[in-house]
Symmetry: C2
Subunit: 411 residues, 2 copies
């Protein structure tokens, strides 16, 4: 647990402005961690709408099941409660009861309906959650919540993350300035189909729930669903977007509304920023790897090829070893199951043509590629030569640090 901060960590958190209608509180509740906040409460003003995208795991945790249900009720959002250290996953009926007690207490504290309360837990799977350690704080935390506690909020949801993750953007909706701010945590079990473990994004824009859901689902596609650390999918993966409406813009009628153009762009940019921060803090990561796939039969095929490369342990360990072992990239393309023309396959690493038409490029000079491999930002371009499908995915390398962290996480 004493892993060094990722070499790719940003210099620090950006300035995170208040979002009108959102107040935050963070505390140490003693579930697992000492000397740092591990419980987050966000209180949102009445009228806040909510959207969510959740893990596709078939063994989803009790909090995830609750959030899906609450979202379907369509009552908006008033409180968010997140703890780190225990995921309340695979805890059976006891886990469901824990969620119910937490929701009931949070609703009471904020004078909200249960269906307006969202919860999440992240950490060890299969250990009953001592929810009393959470509920005992909720009255006070709802009361003490304030608009300026983003940095503590970002820290409260961390588990094996080596740095807190946040991003903020401003956008204009019909001439009205709105702000979007999000926090996220990784950092293992990051894979396609809801990659981040937890990310929460808040805006003061006025956006109806159905529109908000569409914006979030679309924005996830090329951000959180395009990253992978280790191919593992958490039982708790959650990405939520809350809109308080305090900015006073005219509510858009649909996700395609022309007034949303700038907001969509800024939201997608923020989601990608958070997703990249999660990858850069992948457990043990020392390299941030972008894989551009082109020439595939379709965009989906390109994505799958990219993910096959990104998830290949042999590719990931070669990158960790700063070895431009492009043969392993060929291997990974081949195992993706997607159409590729071996004799038209081309690969560039760090912008240098390494392979062309199915063999090593004529006059290939390894020196500049070796220099590229020594940096933190690795770029791999693959053209599989069969069509026009393109996709980009991001991953990190597989290092001794990953083994270290995950061979001793519980004990």
């Amino acid at each position: 647990m004493a892993a060094a901060v990722s070499p790719m960590a940003p210099a620090g958190l950006p300035d995170l402005p208040a979002i009108a209608g959102v107040r935050l509180a963070a505390r140490n509740c003693g579930l697992r961690y000492k000397g740092r906040p591990d419980l987050l409460v966000a209180v949102m003003d009445p009228g806040t709408t909510a959207a969510g995208v959740f893990t596709r795991s078939l063994t989803a945790s009790a909090p995830v099941l609750w959030c899906r249900e609450a979202l379907a009720a369509g009552e908006g959002a008033r409180v968010l409660v997140v703890n780190s250290g225990n995921s309340n996953a695979f805890t059976g009926k006891a886990g469901v009861a824990s969620v119910e007690r937490t929701v009931a207490q949070a609703a009471k504290a904020a004078k909200a309906k249960p269906a307006q309360v969202f919860v999440a837990s992240t950490g060890t799977i299969g250990v009953p959650l001592e929810d009393g350690k959470i509920t005992v704080h909720l009255d006070e935390m709802v009361a003490e919540a304030s608009p300026d506690r983003w940095a503590e909020a970002a820290r409260a949801i961390m588990t094996t993350d080596t740095y807190p993750k946040a991003a903020t953007r401003t956008a204009s909706i019909g001439g009205v300035k709105v702000t979007i701010t999000g926090i996220a945590k990784g950092s293992g079990m990051i894979a396609p189909d809801m990659a981040t473990m937890l990310a929460y994004v808040f805006t003061d824009a006025a956006i109806p729930q159905a529109v908000l859901q569409t914006l979030l689902a679309k924005g996830t596609e090329d951000s959180f669903n395009a990253i992978t650390v280790d191919s593992d999918t958490s039982t708790s993966d959650t990405l939520m977007l809350f809109a308080t409406g305090k900015a006073g813009n005219t509510a858009p009628a649909s996700a395609g509304d022309a007034s949303l153009r700038d907001f969509r762009r800024k939201l997608n940019d923020l989601l990608l920023d958070l997703a990249h921060q999660v990858v850069k803090d992948g457990e043990g990561a020392t390299k941030f790897v972008r894989i551009d796939v082109a020439g595939a039969a379709s965009k989906a095929a390109a994505r799958r090829i990219g993910m096959a490369v990104a998830n290949s342990p042999l590719v990931k360990t070669a990158i960790a070893g700063e070895d431009a072992n492009w043969g392993r990239i060929v291997m990974a393309v081949g195992k993706s199951g997607e159409k590729a023309d071996r004799d038209r396959l081309s690969i560039r690493i760090g912008g240098v043509q390494v392979a062309l038409n199915g063999q090593v490029a004529e006059g290939y000079d390894e020196a500049p590629v070796n220099r590229h491999m020594k940096g933190h930002d690795i770029v791999i371009e693959v053209d599989v030569g069969v069509g026009r499908g393109k996709a980009t995915v991001w991953t990190c390398d597989l290092t001794h640090g990953y083994i270290e962290i995950n061979g001793a996480y519980r004990t």
Copy 2:
């Protein structure tokens, strides 16, 4: 490359009897390795039939493509040439020409047809193969080949393997004793759909090619296709079975022939033995892990669930850390995409009920499970509670050794 011998290596090679009609030669040809054989030639008497199962990679190597073609020609087998150190994969037209030259020279040396020559190359991908270093030896190797060189043969095909792999069985076909002997090599890029990189099995039984192919394909299903080291699929994976017919049994008419009952059993047993040896020598492996899945919707579903558990980096690192972190098993079941009932899921580790009906088992005592985790043989049983599908898969743990070997393989 100086990895210590796997702690799960057998005490040594078994006694490997001669197979009538098979002669072997091994030499160092200087392609990559020093002080050890890296070139194998097997010469088989006229009348030998052949069967093969190959990688499903869509970027298969030139030797694999050649073998598929030669097998389809149905001319039987006279010579097998295998080199280690360079896989001749993704080498374009030059790689195809290398295969053609090697085949032509081997055919000439053994007075055989080109379609009776099978070749394989294992090692680095994407580096042109200096086939001259191979062909220069072929005349002499065919001439010097002898029936008793199994140990050298098993060593000649090794790459990062830490020990040679071989197995032998005797069987009876219609009262006639026949012998089956096989050699194999791993040890990274081991995954479903042709798991081993290379395995060659020889028998003196008389078995027509079509029957031999069916026996091999069926035998692969629950052996080489049920193991995984790192989920990566090689471009060169090859499993071949040669039958010289010298034992003098009556040739069976079909794979279902009653006279083949004992042979089938022994062949399957030998294939499983070789597959297990490959897993136990998985790169960096310190644990041999059996995963029994029951209660799945079908056998195929059970296999996929088992593979999801076996390939999960988080499960594999927990096993390396001797941590009975069954929550990660739940996670892996959930990400398999196969139907599972979270609230009926049960898990046993080392025979101890850890989880039952979706939560930790009542009175669960971690002590005996922790003791089990410290051994080399780990047994995980998962019942997903939805049907009657069963499957077993085998894997190894993910350790610092894997990172070490693969972060510095080429350089």
